[in-house]
């Protein structure tokens, strides 16, 4: 499973990425919506873990753009707010909402439920 984590809290997202990698998950992180889109153009990800509130492009808008770029990608939303608005925004259309602090085992279980996507991967694109 390839996971893209997007959060403007650099220390948080970089450490979480390392913890996922230690558990055998192919994870990368981006610090903004624009950086996430650039990463998704380079590689295909199965799952994106998106911070709801970020400067510039928030997680909800980023999801729309990533979906257009990578059909079939699955989404999890993470936020420090834990507010009803965030919950409702995050749970629309089947997305899962994760509140900080994140339990790593719970997160891995949710990611595992999604599994690898069936879309073409970056290597396939480069071969085209």
């Amino acid at each position: 499973v390839r996971v893209l984590l997007v959060d403007d809290e650099e220390r948080f997202v970089s450490v979480l990425t390392k913890r996922l990698r230690l558990r055998g998950i192919d994870a990368e992180f981006a610090l903004s919506g624009d950086a996430a889109l650039a990463a998704a153009r380079e590689r295909r990800f199965d799952v994106a873990l998106l911070d709801v509130k970020m400067p510039g492009m928030g997680g909800i808008e980023l999801r729309r753009r990533l979906e257009a770029l990578s059909p079939g990608m699955k989404f999890l939303f993470v936020t420090g707010h834990g507010s009803r608005d965030d919950y409702e925004a995050g749970t629309t259309e089947g997305a899962i909402y994760v509140a900080k602090p994140i339990e790593i085992d719970d997160l891995i279980e949710v990611i595992g439920r999604y599994g690898p996507g069936d879309g073409e991967r970056e290597e396939d694109r480069e071969d085209d």
Binding site: V15, K100, P101, I104
Partner: protein, 236 residues
Amino acid sequence: VTGSGRKTVKTTESGPLADERIEFSGKVIASISHELKNALATVGESAGLLSDLLKEPEVDDELRQEMRTCGETISDELKRAFAIIRNLNTFAHTADEALRETDIARMTELIATLSGYRSNARPVHVEDPTGGAAKVHTCPLLYQDLVYGILLAAFRLRGQNDPIEVTIGSREGGAEIRFRELGSNRLDEVLAEPERRILGMLHGGVTLDAEAGVLEVRLPPSIETGNDPDAGGTHE
């Protein structure tokens, strides 16, 4: 020139002032709790990573460095969390008295920091050439509400991360607060209706120099006895 719908601030806790204070306090406290949660979430993840690394069978230099980094991150984020709690404490004590002698520079710096929590840390630089001399008898919480509203509007209007410059001044015992680069030359955008209403409660005035891109807010020496020297409220 337009009027600003002046209302008198009383020390009693009822009516529009009480409503304004409750609403504003709620917004600020929510943003502080969010920031605190982010810091503690990073502490939690770093502690988790440290625990993960300690389970590794062999410890080489790279792993040792990784562990050191985890410890430093935990230490830094705890400092950040305590700084947030200090700001929360200072903010909470703002409400101790409805009216009091208020250090405008200190109050502006605090609210600039708090607005950063709400707006994902867009920078605000506060300069105080008066060296703390700009002190007026006013309602500190309403003043904070006013500045908070102006800064959040500017963050929305600018849509970028360039710093907003705020300069504190003093004139005839009152205070002048100048905001630069707010992202619009329209007074109704940089000072929306709620902020105009608050300015009226504070008996203050405002001038927008559209050419220079400077919004000047003025507060009288005392909310109870004085009005803005350029009485009339809002100028454009």
